[in-house]
Amino acid sequence: MSNKRDKPSNRKYRPQFCPGKTLIAENRRRYLNPDYKLKKIRPLSEEEITRLLGFRAPGEAYKSVHPPLEELGEPDCPIRRLVEPTPGAKAGDAIKFIQFTDSIYFAPIMSTIRARLYHWRYRGCDVGALSGRIPLEMRERDLEVVAKELLETEIFDPAVNAVRAITVHGHSLRLDENGIMFDAKRRTMYSAKDNCIYYVKDQWGRTLGTPINFGTRTSEEELKERTCAYRTDNIDFEEDADEFLRTTFNVYENRVRGGWGKEIPKPLKP
């Protein structure tokens, strides 16, 4: 490989993220693209993020799982010299997590796309996508930085996305009269006074001293514009099915060819 390609800006290949020509596919490409800056729609302070995560009191030192790398002295490995550790790894922070539950009712983002978003955008992330919840594990101070972006921007809506470390049930249930996703621990509260949604408990369901204001919920019309999930009552998957299926067919055709170790087997005679 020539040296000129070492800089990311010199690369010719432009990622395409996923097929599809509808708004949904465009949203997916927008969210996944690390060069696209997610639109900020609410300000949250670092202290509020810390309180919401519930691992330490604001101002308290980060818990560490090993001494800082400088003190520890790293083994002689060329890969370690090439790969820059994140600030959390440098300090030896413990691994902590944030877990999201995303409603099937037009949430801007959901598990599968979230997992890909994390791996397109963030370094040192550990994510496991499940149908109704999606934990993201990272070194604690790295997690706080990432969580801030995830909670402040257009991919989070307080009514249909939720931060839940435990008791996650609710992603597939109908929304309540205020359009908010069911939560057995009632971590969020709708205030009719200012039409805002507040987190009154942290992600573990422990009551917060001061509620955290996440602003107003987004209207269903706008969510339909922002979501990256196909739905028959919004943009049907059928509209993009042709492109997706052609891509998937290509994958499977080659998988069969590779698994069989030769050309595609001939069809059996009827």
Partner: protein, 448 residues
């Protein structure tokens, strides 16, 4: 009959990205033809470590065979095994030597706390499987202790339990003092899985926590399993030989260069872009069709070589992501999402045609306390999960373990540090890529 050959050559680069050998015949990387790999396997196969310190503690207290088993009436509070380790070593050596000039080796480590036993070639040739070192070494140690301390017949059985643990009541040496790099045959998932029982921790210990060497050594064991299990014949031969060369031995410097380019700011997604660009430049893949949205579907020109490129990307993504967090646990997440993103990105098949994705998914459950299971460092390719991907997943797991800075509960140093000391001086383990390249060239020359 025509000989099976893969008429291709690769350039191999070492863990620092320096060219070590040009035009290495891929066929010479087959463990059955490669002297360096054969030597590694031989040394591993004949080696066992007896934990004399543990034997002494067990006999002094009567705690035999692990948890819940205390038999104070068997206790010998005065026994001083570690203190007399040298005499025990001499006795053991006398038991296992078959001739004065054989290659048996019996040595003490950690101030007499550990006894290394390496059986001579002649004993191994007689044995039907690879259990001889554990059984011969164990039996020799028991007898040496009984003889040295003149122990009576009733208490001699306690000595056997202190060394062998609950075996033969259990199928392995549960609670015993025998440390072997390999698991017992009764624990094999399938026939021919012997080389897959070497855990990630052992490999990382031998490689002294060097990520690239860990991947290389892991690849050697996986390839040897493929030979053993009949997977390296016929139509799949080229797939695995190329995978081994590119992913594990850094062929064409693909892994190293990718990590170098993306080490500071890279993510899993950016690694995919790098691999796609390189594959396009090298003509390994090409555009197949453009869809109305502008999305381009690619197809492999050379499917097996593309698989090797994709596997390189998977290892590089592991190094970038796990390396950035200096934490091994995210390897499963990288395996799943790298492959998932790759096929959504291009329409190309993922690593080993879907098997890696499946492995990554279950590995995620097993290493994140959803299904119990275990830690990344304790994983072996003999596990019901990792066995499903041949060759390609285990190097990633080993590289991730090597890059961990201390988040593991059972790190290599604590579990298997002794293997690092034993094989420290062996060139093949010290510089696997160089040794294997040299031996492959030799093998190629011999055939012409």
């Amino acid at each position: 009959m025509r000989e099976q050959t893969v008429p291709e050559y690769v350039n191999l680069y070492n863990d620092s990205g320096k060219l070590v050998a040009e035009k290495v015949p891929v066929d010479g990387l087959d463990p059955a033809r490669n002297r360096a790999v054969t030597r590694m396997l031989y040394e591993m196969k004949r080696t066992v470590v007896i934990d004399l310190d543990k034997v002494e503690k067990s006999l002094r207290t009567g705690s035999l065979g692990g948890e819940y088993c205390r038999m104070p009436h068997y206790a010998m509070p005065e026994i001083a095994i570690v203190e007399n380790a040298e005499r025990i070593r001499e006795r053991v050596e006398a038991f296992i030597r078959t001739s004065k000039k054989d290659d048996a080796r019996v040595a003490l480590f950690d101030n007499g706390k550990r006894l290394l036993v390496q059986l001579p070639r002649s004993t191994l040739e007689v044995s039907a499987d690879y259990t001889a070192p554990a059984l011969v070494g164990g039996a020799a140690s028991v007898q040496a202790i009984v003889d040295e301390f003149d122990i009576d017949p009733l208490k001699a059985q306690a000595c056997a339990s202190a060394v062998f643990g609950r075996y033969p009541s259990t199928i392995d040496f549960k609670g015993g003092a025998i440390n072997s790099a390999m698991g017992v045959p009764l624990r094999l998932e399938h026939l021919g899985y012997g080389w897959r029982t070497v855990s990630s921790n052992v490999i990382v210990s031998i490689a002294n926590r060097n990520a690239m060497k860990s991947a290389a050594l892991s690849g050697c064991f996986e390839m040897s399993y493929l030979v053993n299990a009949g997977n390296l014949v016929g139509r799949y031969r080229r797939l695995y030989l190329l995978g081994f060369a590119y992913e594990c031995l850094n062929a064409e410097n693909l892994v190293y260069n990718t990590v170098r380019a993306l080490g500071r700011e890279g993510t899993t997604g950016k690694v995919i872009c790098e691999i796609m660009e390189r594959a396009l430049d090298d003509g390994v893949i090409r555009k197949k069709e453009a869809l109305p949205s502008g999305f381009t579907i690619y197809e492999p020109v050379d499917l097996e070589l593309w698989n090797a490129y994709a596997a390189c990307g998977m290892l590089a993504a592991t190094m970038v992501n796990c390396g950035a967090a200096r934490c091994a646990h995210s390897v499963s997440s990288v395996i799943v999402n790298y492959n998932e993103m790759l096929l959504n990105e291009s329409g190309l098949p993922d690593v080993e045609f879907g098997r890696a994705t499946g492995t990554g998914l279950l590995l995620d459950f097993l290493t994140h306390a959803l299904y119990g299971g275990g830690e990344v460092g304790l994983m072996t390719a003999n596990h019901p999960n990792l066995k499903t991907t041949k060759l390609f997943a285990m190097p990633c797991v080993c590289a991730a373990t090597a890059l961990d800075a201390g988040t593991l509960t059972y790190p290599p140093e604590k579990m298997t540090g002794i293997f690092s000391q034993i094989f420290r001086e062996m060139t093949e383990f010290k510089n696997p890529i160089e040794s294997i390249a040299e031996a492959a060239i030799e093998a190629g020359n011999g055939r012409e």
